[in-house]
Subunit: 85 residues, 2 copies
């Protein structure tokens, strides 16, 4: 069904979008310009989505958000490290 | 049901998280450090989520992603403007 594929495409896009940001932070070793509150709030939200997917046994939500969490956490840690300098 | 509230909390967090980033871009007039591919891919994904919510008549998905799109687009436009300088 078309709508299912649109959902899959949406999940793949919003999940993989963080890869270029992780790469940029890793390459430049800089997080200037990135908002720390954004990644704190976003990370919390993605954590809740992961719990939601786990409780509902919804593999798509669980998988997409676990991957997003793995991508968002290094950005968040880099930001916290940068602010502490 | 607890799981429903976790879902609502997740949606509120991942949606509102972009507010501090929009504010930071607006205040500093700078997008250095932000990944352009990230916001291009993320914006596309959120657009697909909005279409998905519309087609399924799922008000929660439709509302959350419409708001996210409204927050992500100004960041994306600011990045494109910055790169063209």
């Amino acid at each position: 069904m078309l709508v299912t594929y649109i959902g899959y495409a949406a999940a793949v896009f919003t999940t993989t979008s963080f890869i270029p940001q992780v790469y940029k932070v890793w390459k430049t070793r800089k997080t200037k310009g990135l908002s720390l509150p954004m990644y704190l709030i976003y990370g919390t939200g993605v954590f809740f989505w992961t719990v939601y997917g786990f409780l509902l046994k919804d593999i798509a939500i669980l998988a997409a958000n676990s991957v997003t969490l793995v991508l968002v956490l290094p950005i968040l840690f880099a930001e916290i490290k940068d602010r502490r300098k």
